[in-house]
């Protein structure tokens, strides 16, 4: 199979799976509904079905798709940025910072909603971005701008934030049930406001990353070579780092920490359609969104009670990832 037909197949299959995922998300839920119910609802909407199909299921599916796209894109950017396949949105400390923010908000009883975010969501967003800025500032001061320094500072700052998170959880053991859904992610409380808050940013970052994709390709040759070939390396790097942190922090703010999507999805996509960043970014976003859509379907339908979605992403993602890696060799 030539690379070109392979790519066409990838796009066709992803689009199909994505649409099928949305349809399934509308039909499956704790309240039993049939395709006939959906058809009757479209012809003749009533209040209860409108709430279930549109306010609950569709908003949740859209949010899951957006978050999946944001995380996968963020991961694809960072793997290019660090020239390291182990990188993911959370390695620079976004996740640990964000969970610290969320747990702190819960512990302080800061629950009210502001700008479409819940209290923990807002603090998660601010702490997530805050820790990345801190890591970036610390790495700069170490003279020059080395990728390894960012990586290591990120891991250290992340460990510190995790320690504080555990401390607050320990002090307020009664908020633990709630915190689990932050630490492993959930779309339980999805609503249109959240989707509307993050959608413009996801689209904007996707367009910007596609526009800068050429420079990302050059970075793969090394910073000096890229500079020599006329790429404004420092500015490009800064732009990509800001975008990836923004995408990850927004995702955490609406849904908690969902691991594995940002790490694994760009890998799948790279194995299937090659390393060119322009297609990689778009394809990762599509595949990441679709992947999370199906994971959320499992999270809310597998058991009578809701599962945190992080359990599903890891349980489904890891074996498939190992399989792909071995097949490649």
């Amino acid at each position: 199979m030539s690379r070109k037909t392979g790519r066409r197949l990838f796009w066709a299959v992803s689009m199909f799976l994505c649409l099928a995922g949305f349809l399934l998300s509308l039909l499956l839920g704790p309240v039993r509904t049939t395709p006939g119910d959906l058809a009757r609802f479209i012809q003749n909407p009533d209040r209860v079905r409108a709430a279930i199909f549109i306010d609950l299921r569709l908003s949740r599916a859209v949010l899951a798709f957006l978050v999946g796209a944001a995380l996968a894109l963020s991961g694809a950017i960072l793997q290019g940025y660090f020239r390291n396949p182990m990188a993911d949105p959370f390695v620079v400390g976004v996740s640990s910072g964000a969970s610290l923010g969320a747990v702190l908000a819960t512990a302080l009883g800061f629950e009210a909603a502001v700008f479409g975010f819940s209290g923990p969501g807002l603090l998660a967003f601010l702490f997530g971005l805050g820790i990345v800025s801190l890591v970036y500032a610390l790495s700069l001061r170490r003279g020059g701008f080395k990728v390894e320094t960012i990586l290591l500072t990120g891991i250290a700052a992340g460990a510190l934030a995790s320690a504080l998170t555990t401390f607050f959880l320990f002090m307020r053991s009664d908020s633990y049930d709630q915190a689990v859904f932050w630490l492993l992610g959930s779309f339980q409380l999805a609503e249109w406001g959240q989707a509307a808050t993050i959608a413009p940013w996801v689209v904007l970052c996707l367009l910007a990353s596609v526009w800068l994709a050429r420079d990302m390709d050059l970075l793969a040759l090394g910073d000096e070579t890229a500079q020599a070939l006329g790429s404004p390396v420092r500015r490009v790097r800064k732009a990509f780092l800001v975008m990836s942190a923004l995408l990850a922090a927004l995702s955490v703010a609406v849904s908690g920490i969902i691991g594995f999507v940002g790490l694994v999805v760009p890998h799948w996509v790279r194995l299937l359609i090659g390393p060119g960043h322009r297609t990689l970014f778009v394809a990762s976003a599509l595949a990441g969104g679709t992947f999370l859509l199906y994971c959320d379907l499992l999270a809310r339908n597998l058991l009578p009670a809701e599962l945190p979605i992080g359990v599903i992403t890891a349980a489904v993602g890891a074996p498939f990832f190992i399989y792909l890696l071995h097949k490649k060799r």
């Binding site: 704790p30 209860v48 609950l56 299921r57 629950e111 339980q188 409380l189």
Partner: protein
């Protein structure tokens, strides 16, 4: 969205109008047949919406964000602040009566329960001995109820002294050495069934050092219905009656 709310609604004669309960709502038995909406911390918004209730009664133990989400779907939600201490039971019943427009039934129920509590109070007037009581929650470890729990209040009202009342918590793990030091005269085991109670009693008595304490020597280990005692509803008064009978048989008909 809590078992005690379900119990109060049934006690007010509203059982037929309850369209959804949590998976923990098993009293009265009729409640088991009502559609389940999930648990206390994980009520399912979609199921609640599909039942299309006229009113959702939540309490502070339900996650606020889930409750807000239900409100945003256009359902009227009432959030109860459930207090601690027996005296808060009557206002709670009256509040539920107000939001469900059954004020007179609620006032009647509250008055009836209050009268029973007052009967116990009257029966205990002038009692000098207040036996030390240790409450054990059946299960792993020595879980007991501290000074902030309403069980502590119940023991107090029934003429006893909770050994663990100095612990500033609702539920707490107790130390074996402290039980031996407290030397309680009576042990209540909160159990769900007679077999759980028997197992709990056997295990308690077998623990090293326990054979010396008064309650074990005198065989004063009694069962309390965990289901009734752990819910802040009308059945607390039954628990109170039973505690008073067990602690002061000389005043309450002598049934032990």
């Amino acid at each position: 969205m809590a078992p005690n709310i379900t119990e109060i609604l049934f006690a007010l004669g509203l059982g037929g109008r309850v369209v959804g309960v949590t998976r923990f709502c098993d009293w009265p038995p009729e409640a088991k047949a009502i559609p389940k909406i999930g648990g206390l911390v994980d009520p399912n918004v979609e199921i609640i919406r599909s039942l299309d209730p006229d009113l959702v009664i939540a309490f502070r133990g339900n996650p606020l964000r889930v409750v807000e989400r239900i409100g945003k779907l256009g359902l009227p939600v009432f959030i109860l602040d459930i207090g601690e201490g027996l005296d808060n039971l009557f206002p709670l019943i009256e509040r539920i009566g107000r939001v469900t427009r059954t004020e007179s039934a609620a006032a009647g129920l509250a008055a009836k329960l209050r009268a029973r509590v007052e009967t116990v109070d009257a029966g205990l007037r002038g009692v000098h001995s207040r036996p030390a009581v240790f409450v054990l929650l059946y299960g792993q470890g020595l879980w007991t109820c501290g000074g902030e729990s309403y069980v502590n209040d119940l023991i107090d009202r029934a003429g006893g002294t909770n050994a663990a009342s100095s612990l500033p918590k609702k539920w707490a793990l107790y130390k074996r050495e402290r039980i031996i030091k407290d030397d309680p005269g009576v042990v209540f085991i909160l159990a769900r069934s007679a077999s759980d109670f028997a197992a709990g009693r056997a295990r308690f008595a077998r623990m090293p050092g326990m054979d010396g304490i008064k309650a074990v020597k005198e065989g004063k280990i009694y069962e309390l219905d965990e289901n009734a005692a752990s819910r802040f509803g009308p059945r607390l008064v039954e628990v109170l009656d039973r505690m008073a009978e067990l602690l002061h048989p000389e005043r309450f008909g002598g049934r032990t």
